[in-house]
């Protein structure tokens, strides 16, 4: 029983986790993206379509990352080079993604594909209770590797430091010779691809099916999780499993005999996120707050002081 709950939690949390990773990276560079939901849908459809037509789920994931990166550049060009409003552009991206995938996915509804095989790790898989952690498919393992890589990149490399500076103070970054727009653009490009992998996990591995609007708000959860995790990719893993676990295990939780309603349980992480925001604002001045200082603001050289 515990094994099944852990397994469901991981599989339901992984799509959200990828989306949150992508969203955190973008926000670290100063770009807020409310289009995550749309990008996830693009990833889900392209992942499913290319798995369906090639018969190979790995090609599906690869193409999902590429296609979503390309669509994500719309947000990049509009907000970075054309200095458009990030909120409006993100909302537009979500609308666009929802509509386009509903349209092009029409013929994919009801089709079936063969999803990903599980890859049990020798020895580790037989640990009692926790062995299930090592019986996942390759994308789950990849998400953990990506977590470590992004964490090391942001905090241990000079390029990562540059990226954070771009998000905190683009004017200072520019003065230090960092190409702000290029940093932001490449970040949006790569992060969109990561979001796309999350979407593809949903359609290629988790279900594996294509259903119109199948992300059902997971992209919005990712946007909320960025704040929940205070822009820390490690806490994002925790948050994703928490959100995914509650949603996916709700029937089981009720079967065990918890009398609390599903909706109230689902509400908890959002309430908790607001409490985290309040507490972190008590902790003090601007410096200790983890939100990138220039989040949501377009960068224009002319405004340099």
């Amino acid at each position: 029983m515990i094994e099944i709950i852990i397994d469901t939690t991981i599989r339901a949390g992984t799509p959200i986790f990828f989306a949150t990773l992508g969203a955190i990276l973008m926000e670290k560079s100063g770009i807020i993206n409310l289009g995550i939901e749309g990008l996830m849908l693009i990833g889900a459809l392209s992942g499913f379509f290319f798995t369906y037509s090639s018969g190979n789920p790995y090609i599906g994931f690869l193409m999902a990352a590429i296609v979503t990166s390309l669509v994500g550049t719309i947000h990049g060009v509009l907000t970075i080079y054309l200095r458009g409003n990030q909120i409006v552009s993100g909302l537009a991206l979500t609308m666009f993604g929802t509509g386009v995938t509903a349209l092009f996915g029409k013929n994919m509804v009801g089709e079936t594909i063969i999803g990903l095989d599980r890859m049990p790790v020798i020895f580790l898989k037989s640990i009692p209770y926790l062995g299930v952690l090592f019986k996942q498919d390759i994308i789950v393992y990849f998400s953990i590797v990506l977590l470590i890589l992004i964490h090391l990149f942001l905090h241990k490399t000079s390029v990562g430091l540059n990226l954070r500076t771009v998000g905190e103070n683009p004017y200072a970054a520019d003065n230090a010779g960092i190409n702000v727009n290029m940093y932001r653009f490449i970040t949006v490009f790569i992060s969109s691809g990561i979001v796309g992998i999350g979407g593809a996990y949903l359609s290629v591995s988790y279900t594996p099916l294509w259903i119109e609007n199948m992300t059902a708000g997971r992209g919005w959860i990712a946007v909320a999780l960025v704040i929940f995790s205070s822009w820390d990719v490690r806490k994002a893993l925790l948050g994703s499993y928490l959100f995914g676990g509650i949603a996916a295990n709700q029937l089981r939780l009720q079967a065990i005999g918890t009398n609390i309603s599903v909706q109230l349980l689902q509400m908890l992480p959002y309430i908790f996120t607001i409490i985290v925001l309040i507490l972190s604002s008590f902790r003090g001045e601007k410096n200790s707050s983890s939100q990138p200082e220039s989040l949501g603001l377009p960068y224009d050289r002319e405004d340099r002081i």
């Binding site: 409003n85 409006v88 909302l91 609308m95 509509g99 909320a224 704040i227």
Partner: protein, 355 residues
């Protein structure tokens, strides 16, 4: 080399309007091309859309029916927008307004339609206002970002309504469907001549007039605009920013909540799972699109309503998914964002180097 300079066209309303109209038409043209690719007969489609949205008295009433919640929510969002506050929570405030109206409608016993409807309006206004006012307090006292808080509170509001219609408020005779009992007759807004259009549209127009007076004609509206454009100047001239943040956000949420009242009392006649196809989110777009101008809000809302109807037409007559409309909205918005850049920047190409 290409030289990009900032320019300020904010005083030139004609040029601004022209830019917006042009980019809007380009977006529309691109959407038409998409339809053409789907082998939709464009002429035929536009004739059908005209018939469904403007061609008859009933068609116009349906358009106005869909425009009503959009206008109300957009006024709420625009008010906050004038002060450079982002109220992303219009959708949740709509749900809270619907919830408050429902509780009043189901639990207060009165034979007077006036007492019933005015208590419903008051209740939804207060609950919606407190809902967004919470975000305002966090913003002014603790400097917590209002975009994030209002966004998060959308989910809480929607889940709360879901919890109630799946649980405590579920109609016992409703075959387990997630909705409440139907409202008593006194709690319903009356409709106009054999259409579904109800008095909510009058509320929307009254709110629009009030909005115009507050923003354009009152001293308070002037203060709001000053805080929005230059908070420091506002502070030095003695305007209390904290109180204004609270009042504007309270009003913004309260007004959005009235859209929820109007939907449950005028259209659905009960509270149920999923009462809005994203009116609150579309309102953010309208507020931005219209530049928070009252006429802009009116026309953009009607246009968005026609787009919603276009979705119905495409679904019924062409078996295309209704969310295709979202793609059109997205494309048009992308074009408008591009036009914003050309509006605010002067681009000149010079062939000489080092100039």
């Amino acid at each position: 080399m290409i030289k990009i300079e900032k320019r300020d066209l904010s005083s030139n309303n004609f040029a601004k309007g022209l830019y917006k109209l042009l980019s809007f038409l380009i977006g529309l043209a691109m959407s038409t091309v998409l339809l053409k690719l789907l082998s939709v007969d464009i002429t035929q489609f536009f004739i059908e859309l005209y018939q469904d949205s403007l061609g008859s008295k009933y068609a116009v009433s349906e358009t106005l029916l869909k425009a009503t919640p959009l206008i109300i929510c957009s006024i709420g969002v625009s008010l906050a927008f004038k002060m450079k506050l982002w109220n992303i929570g219009s959708e949740g405030q709509l749900y809270m307004g619907a919830l408050a109206s429902t509780i009043v409608a189901l639990y207060i016993e009165t034979d007077s339609s006036f007492i019933m409807l005015s208590s419903m309006i008051l209740a939804s206004f207060l609950l919606g206002g407190l809902w967004s006012g919470f975000a305002a307090i966090l913003k002014s006292k603790l400097n917590v970002n209002e975009i994030i808080v209002t966004l998060l509170m959308n989910y809480i509001a929607i889940l709360l309504v879901d919890y109630l219609v799946y649980g405590p408020l579920k109609d016992p005779a409703g075959f387990n469907f997630p909705y409440t009992k139907q409202f008593p007759d006194v709690a319903l807004l009356s409709t106009f001549f054999n259409t579904r259009l109800h008095y909510g549209v009058i509320i929307a127009v009254i709110l629009l007039v009030i909005y115009y007076i507050i923003i354009e004609k009152s001293i308070w509206g002037y203060e709001i605009r000053v805080i929005g454009s230059n908070p420091n100047a506002a502070k030095y001239s003695g305007i209390n920013i904290d109180i204004n943040i609270f009042m504007v956000m309270f009003l913004s949420g309260g007004i959005s909540a009235l859209a929820g009242f109007s939907e449950v009392s005028g259209v659905i006649h009960r509270l149920q799972h999923s009462i809005s196809p994203g009116y609150g989110y579309t309102a953010i777009i309208i507020a931005w699109l219209s530049n928070q101008n009252y006429l802009g809000i009116l026309f953009s809302s009607i246009f968005m309503a026609i787009l919603f109807i276009a979705g119905d037409t495409l679904q019924l007559n062409y078996q295309l998914p209704i969310s295709l409309v979202n793609a059109f909205q997205g494309i048009i918005l992308f074009m408008l964002l591009i036009s914003d850049f050309f509006m605010n920047h002067k681009i000149s190409i010079k062939w000489r180097k080092n100039d």
